[in-house]
């Protein structure tokens, strides 16, 4: 992607997307340990049922980390200035999360050429789980 630069990008351009493998219980257990989020709601079905859920469900920050990969697959992390999301609906077991993004705005600020991306994490049915924005500096 040597041609990736501020001038060659246009508002509306899509960045390369990807889809995760199906989320399973191992995915959630590993993320609980690695992320330090030990909330049993995501790893202990007995606990989840006690609180009225049918099953455990994915950590919101797991999908936010997947979307973070979308960004760092596209540009080096050092180009990332801001990244924020709003959590929509719960991500369930067996969901496959598609991470996608498109250029929403181009502007210059503080001597930097910046791209604002709109990013989305959605499941196989197109249900949006997370939506957000990232600001990236490009030369």
């Amino acid at each position: 992607m040597s041609e990736l630069n501020y001038d060659s990008l246009q508002v509306g351009d899509e960045i390369p997307s990807f889809t995760t493998p199906s989320i399973n219980r191992t995915t959630l257990a590993l993320f609980a340990g690695a992320s330090g989020d030990h909330n049993p709601m995501h790893i202990d079905i007995d606990f989840a049922k006690k609180f009225g859920m049918d099953d455990v469900f994915a950590q919101g920050m797991l999908s936010m980390a997947y979307l973070g990969r979308l960004l760092t697959n596209w540009v080096p992390q050092s180009a990332l200035r801001q990244y924020g999301v709003r959590f929509g609906s719960i991500t369930n077991l067996r969901d496959k999360i598609t991470c996608s993004g498109k250029v929403a705005e181009k502007y210059e600020e503080g001597g930097e050429k910046l791209i604002k991306l709109e990013v989305t994490a959605a499941n196989q049915d197109g249900d949006v789980k997370l939506s957000g924005q990232a600001v990236i500096a490009l030369s």
Binding site: S35, A65, S78, Q82
Partner: protein
Amino acid sequence: MIDRKHIGRTSKPHTVEVEKGRLRFFAKAIGETNPVYLDEEAAKAAGYRSLPAPPTFLFSIDLEQDNPFADIEDMGINLGKILHAEQAFTYHAPICAGDSITLQSEVVEIFDKKGGALEFLVQNYQAKNQNDELVAEMRRTLVVRN
């Protein structure tokens, strides 16, 4: 209802050492395969001191406490009623393995919607490294379902 007097409340700063093994585990758990996040030589070749922390890892640094929700409980909020509503990061400099990161939060907003059925707690965090350099900020919004 969350007492509005908590607006401006700051947490006790806490410091966490960022470990290489933990960063590799995190990378594995999120399906990251880019060698920059897994192989220290690749990280150094990319200009980092050591393995860099991925964009959302700062949230995990905050969770490295005996009770990461002690502050929430002290404000009288029932943990069973909270959901994560929004999360945002602003990046100033890389966080790498070997760094000691000190985090402190401040309650910046408390507001409600739907006649108090939903209450929102917004906290801003500052993350400084061992050189007292502000490396990142984050903003966490929790919603309390009353």
